[in-house]
């Protein structure tokens, strides 16, 4: 509105990149300047993204703005451009908007107090702000890109920043939370590396898929891909494999089974980083990419019916992951871990809905459900993470068993957290209710009853673990840990305004976000060009309630009531289950993590070392023996030809050269 749309599409990621690059400069001048600038850059980015959203609301459009085309070799062009359409702008707004709130929150969060109550700044905050801004920039670059190669670049930048930020506290001296590492610093560094490596596994498929798709479609560009008449028809039967290879990327980035294992460890970073990874960036990248290519693949499915395998895979993996992660969340003790598993589970919902687009007749309802849940989840998960961060900051422990009974001491945080929890559990009228309702409806009306059943059971589990978390953290008796803190004169108190303001903003959004549904549908339905016109948006009725609403109400009753009775009222004691197989199975994450680790880390290292010890050593010894014979010759010469500088060998070489010269000239 204020600036031209084409310019906004570029500025929205160029500004945070510039902000990141200047962070070290500002950091040299003054630490406060560095933080002010980071917050400012965050808000400028958010403003630019919001401006684009407003433009889209007034007149939805789809612009492919290409800046540079590089022709590498005949037929292979690499483009550098942006695609501005409602989907990319929405994601940019989530990344920029929530990102800016998180950066503001960081100013308070990354400041601690020492024993005398003096303010202590983390010494490596320049690194922190650099990567935070770069992270946001990478995410926005990913969503704004008009071609898959550029998306992949943003994708990897996000991965790299997550690696740096999860392992941010890499030299902490406290003992590690797990026995494999000596110190917490080593654990954090290992967690960062794990996140990078596991997502990398998915990226392998993604990169191979992008390149193969290029040679089928002849382009990297999303818009051009839709013109399917240019495709190499002879290769259409490769497409299902290519599509599944591409989906490997989202599996990794959005932490779906079997690559979900990195996300819980990603909690090792500062809570702000967790919030950024879970709500605004990174895990949303996978959902975005799938949402971006689905219209193309739906188009393809009309000629290649086998493409349905892709949609089945997406839906099945989403459903399985949603259920699996929800069961794991039931037994967690760290508040951030509960939230981490809940993210994995909620992302599963999005993939369920997106996968269903290819399976149901009303593909638009499934597509809208998936994308609206993305928005809803971004709002309430950012809220939950930041509120959890506020608790952690006050309580100085990650464990819920170290909390309890702090609702009176942290009223704002408590209220905000509850709003987030209600939303996550899908309670009316919070935003999560509306988005979950849409997913239920799309699955039910589309006749996908198996997936619907899994979604329904998972929703019950979600409601249960969410209120278990609220109960343990804020209600009941104060824990020993808090009592000992208070006896040392450290009273639990509310966070500073830089932390509570983002909480309040997000809480309001999570509480009233349901209204966005009508905005959201209107936002897409006005489109006349571009990939998203594949769907019949006008067909959608906002705020539709129906038979599935009964299921949603059942979820509240069956899910929340037991949690209330067990964790608030203490009517039942579940501690006897702690030795049972089921508890151990869930606590050990279905043993998937251990199994993967055993095969792909230990197994790979074992194999490498074995080849090193047997094959490589033998080869080197053989070669050494060969030249050993020659060495004997050289030593023989040394005895006869005295020379300081190993004249003999030089002589040998001169001989060879002479030989060559004779060959040449005679």
């Amino acid at each position: 509105m204020i600036l031209p749309l084409e310019l906004l599409g570029w500025l929205v990621f160029v500004v945070p990149i510039a902000g990141a690059l200047f962070t070290p400069v500002f950091g040299k001048i003054h630490p406060t300047l560095r933080e002010v600038m980071a917050v400012l850059v965050g808000f400028i980015t958010a403003f630019l993204a919001l401006d684009m959203v407003l433009d889209m609301l007034i007149s939805p459009t789809s612009i492919d703005n290409n800046l540079i085309t590089w022709v590498i070799t005949a037929g292979i062009e690499v483009e550098f451009g942006v695609l501005i359409d409602p989907l990319s702008v929405l994601l940019a707004c989530i990344a920029g908007g929530i990102g800016s709130l998180i950066i503001l929150f960081s100013v308070g969060y990354m400041t601690g107090h020492d024993a005398e109550g003096n303010v202590v700044k983390d010494p490596s905050l320049t690194r922190y702000y650099f990567f935070m801004q770069f992270f946001v920039a990478g995410m926005i670059l990913l969503v704004m890109a008009n071609n898959m190669l550029m998306t992949f670049i943003g994708w990897e930048i996000v991965g790299m920043c997550s690696y740096a930020l999860i392992g941010f506290w890499h030299n902490l001296k406290e003992p590690s939370p797990v026995p494999e590492y000596k110190t917490e610093g080593e654990y954090n560094a290992a967690s960062g590396m794990k996140a990078f490596m596991v997502t990398r596994v998915g990226d392998i498929g993604l990169l191979a898929g992008i390149l193969l798709l290029f040679f089928i479609t002849g382009t990297f560009n999303y818009t051009e891909m839709l013109q399917t008449d240019a495709w190499a028809v002879g290769l259409f039967h490769l497409l299902p494999i290519v599509a599944i290879l591409i989906f490997a990327g989202p599996i990794g980035k959005s932490a779906q089974f079997p690559l979900h294992i990195w996300l819980p460890e990603a909690m090792a970073g500062p809570t702000t980083v967790s919030a950024l990874i879970h709500a605004a960036a990174m895990v949303k990248a996978g959902v975005y990419l799938v949402a971006r290519i689905i219209p193309i693949f739906l188009e393809v499915m009309q000629t290649v019916p086998e493409m349905i395998v892709f949609f089945q895979t997406v839906a099945a993996i989403g459903a399985f992951t949603a259920f699996m992660a929800a069961t794991m969340a039931l037994v967690q003790d760290e508040i951030k871990k509960v939230l981490a598993y809940s993210t994995v589970s909620q992302l599963g919902y999005m993939f369920m809905a997106l996968g269903a687009t290819g399976l149901v007749a009303e593909s638009v309802s499934a597509y809208a459900a998936g994308t609206f849940h993305l928005l809803a989840h971004a709002l309430f998960k950012a809220l939950l993470f930041l509120a959890a961060g506020s608790v952690l900051h006050a309580v100085q422990s990650k464990k819920m068993s170290d909390m309890g009974g702090i609702r009176k001491d942290m009223k704002v945080t408590f209220a905000a957290f509850t709003v987030g929890a209600l939303s996550l559990a899908g309670v009316f009228p919070f935003v999560g209710f509306w988005s979950k309702e849409l997913i239920f409806e799309a699955l039910w009306l589309g006749g996908q009853y198996i997936i619907f059943l899994i979604a329904f059971i998972t929703a019950i589990l979600t409601a249960f673990y969410t209120f278990r978390m609220v109960g343990i953290t804020f209600f009941g008796e104060k824990s020993e840990h808090i009592k000992s803190l208070e006896s040392h004169g450290h009273h639990i108190h509310e966070a500073p305004p830089t932390m509570t303001i983002p909480l309040i903003i997000l809480a309001v959004l999570a509480a009233t976000g349901g209204i966005l549904e009508i905005v959201f549908f209107g936002y897409f339905s006005g489109l006349e060009t571009g990939a998203l016109t594949h769907f019949d948006w006008a067909h959608l009725a906002p705020f539709a309630l129906g038979i599935t609403t009964i299921f949603t109400i059942a979820v509240w009753l069956v899910g929340i009531t037991p949690a209330y009775l067990i964790y608030w009222r203490n009517k039942y004691d579940l501690s006897r289950f702690k030795d049972g197989f089921l508890y151990k199975f869930l606590w050990n994450r279905w043993y998937i993590n251990a199994l993967w680790y055993r095969i792909f880390v230990d197994g790979y290292l074992w194999l490498s070392n074995a080849i090193h010890a047997r094959v490589e050593s033998a080869l080197l010894a053989f070669s050494g023996a060969l030249s050993g014979g020659m060495d004997g010759v050289s030593r023989g010469w040394r005895r006869t030809m005295t020379g300081v500088l190993n004249t003999n060998v030089l002589g040998m070489m001169v001989g060879i050269i002479a030989f060559l010269l004779i060959l040449i000239f005679l």
């Binding site: 790299m160 290769l235 039967h237 790979y604 080849i611 080869l619």
Partner: protein
């Protein structure tokens, strides 16, 4: 024709001046070394800086800048109208950037040596050999004639051998000579094998001029035979598994600056030979070997990566990494597609920079901590922030992370394989599997590099290293500059594409 700058002298003189300057400069360095080590250092640096500047002029000059070439040939053998052998200089979008790479690496390793090589015996010899080593490589790169190519190709082994033998890191001279000899035997053998192929080519085509041979029609059967001999020869020098056995001992033996020239520059001359000689001249014959070569390259990539992760020592890890990365180059060639070969050429320059960058970091680490063993290092990031940043940039780049340069080369190489898959059509899973496996190799690369970062820079500082600090400023400037180039090339790959692309157009015949 428009260049960035106008040069007052003919462009080909720049190349002649470079080569002569290096050869005679080396002599002067030797003489200067008799009196003063400082003098030898300064002179050697100046000689290389001069060569570098001349080649930058060449690159920005009108011919190369606009995609043309500078060619200068004198008859070496035979009469003027039917020359048997020429001696020439070719400067184009491929040879000039590689010459700049080699000269730049030479300059940096000499500068690095001034702080790294302490208590040097016979400094004049050391620095002059370094200069001559670079001179021979530059001679290879400019070559217009096969015989000229191989004369310089063999000549460069002399300084390399002496540098390893005299200045090797082992105390025991027997061990040093053993490692150096092993290196020499293998690479010389590689050269001689290739030379045999050269004579066969001469026998069939009656010329040794590379450009004449490119347009000559060689029967496919014969091209196949010659091609395999060439590949064997260049494969030895490149260190393709299982011909890599010379590399680990000599990489372990050579001091860091020499190692940089060996791994960053010398192996690249073999890769350059493949792209300049083997592919253009014999592409028809080579098509039959594409799948076999692809498998060998893939084995090299995987084997190198697996050996790298099993090393206990940073220097050896980097050495195996270098072997693994050369597999990527060969993989790009073996796709026999335009994009794959372009990617390999891009990666050739990238890997030269990146391998050297990481080796410089290893050397700097050794200077400050006295060791390169992983189990003795740790937690150094807060102590050496600049070095840690630079190493991490290099490591992430080698692992194929955008926006660093290696990603650009790597995706192009993999795109070559993807194009093969598309050309093979449905029902030919071989190339599909090759494509995916090649990308898997980047994952394995990331594994060992990230693990090395963790073991060196994160966690707890071991006892005795509490006082470790960042390296001397000179090293930080060198490595920082290289890291900067890596990022710039990653963000703006057109800088290199615009030179390489036109030269390689049509090199694989259609493709």
């Amino acid at each position: 024709m428009q260049g960035i700058i106008d040069i007052p002298i003919p462009s080909h003189d720049l190349m002649i001046l470079t080569l002569l300057g290096l050869i005679f400069g080396g002599l002067l360095v030797m003489l200067a070394g008799k009196w003063s080590e400082k003098g030898a250092q300064a002179l050697a640096s100046l000689v290389l800086l001069g060569g570098l500047a001349l080649n930058v002029f060449l690159l920005l000059g009108p011919e190369v800048w606009s995609g043309g070439e500078v060619l200068y040939e004198v008859v070496w053998l035979g009469s003027a109208d039917s020359p048997i052998m020429n001696m020439g200089f070719r400067g184009d979008g491929l040879s000039t950037p590689i010459a700049i790479l080699v000269l730049g690496l030479g300059l940096f390793s000499i500068l690095f040596s001034t702080v790294y090589m302490k208590n040097l015996k016979q400094p004049g010899l050391y620095y002059s050999l370094m200069v001559w080593f670079v001179a021979a490589m530059v001679g290879v790169i400019y070559a217009t004639d096969l015989m000229q190519f191989f004369v310089f190709y063999e000549l460069m082994l002399i300084p390399a051998f002496v540098l390893v033998y005299v200045y090797g890191v082992s105390e025991d001279p027997v061990k040093r000579s053993k490692n150096a000899l092993q290196f020499w035997i293998w690479t010389a053998a590689g050269g001689i094998v290739s030379l045999f192929a050269v004579f066969m080519l001469f026998g069939y085509a009656g010329t040794m001029s590379i450009s004449t041979l490119t347009s000559a029609s060689i029967p496919v059967e014969i091209a196949k035979f010659i091609g395999i001999i060439f590949l064997l020869g260049f494969g030895m020098k490149l260190g393709l598994v299982p011909l890599h056995v010379w590399a680990p001992p000599v990489y372990g033996e050579a001091p860091i600056p020499v190692l940089i020239l060996l791994s960053g520059a010398m192996t690249k001359t073999a890769a350059y030979g493949v792209i300049r000689i083997v592919i253009p001249i014999l592409s028809e014959g080579l098509r039959g070997y594409a799948s076999g070569l692809m498998v060998i390259s893939l084995i090299t990539m995987f084997y190198g990566a697996m050996m790298a992760i099993s090393q206990k020592d940073l220097k050896m890890m980097l050495a195996y990494s270098s072997i693994s990365q050369l597999g990527y180059l060969m993989f790009g060639y073996s796709t026999m597609t335009s994009i794959g070969v372009n990617g390999a050429a891009f990666q050739l320059i990238n890997h030269g920079i990146l391998a050297s960058l990481t080796f410089f970091c290893a050397g700097a680490l050794k200077m400050k901590t006295g060791t390169m063993k992983f189990d003795k290092l740790g937690g150094l990031a807060p102590k050496m922030p600049v070095l840690a940043t630079v190493y991490i940039i290099g490591a992430l780049a080698l692992a194929g992370t955008p926006p660093m340069s290696a990603f650009v080369g790597e995706w192009m190489i993999f795109a070559g394989a993807a194009e093969r898959t598309a050309l093979a059509g449905v029902g030919q899973p071989f190339y599909l599997v090759m494509t995916v496996l090649a990308v898997v190799a980047t994952g394995l690369t990331a594994a060992y590099y990230l693990w090395s970062i963790r073991r060196i820079f994160f966690g707890q500082v071991p006892e005795g290293m509490e006082d470790a600090r960042d390296s001397p400023r000179l090293i930080l400037v060198i490595t920082g500059l290289m890291a900067f180039v890596v990022v710039i090339l990653g963000v703006w790959p057109w800088m290199l594409w615009r030179f390489i692309g036109p030269v390689l157009t049509g090199v694989v015949g259609g493709g």
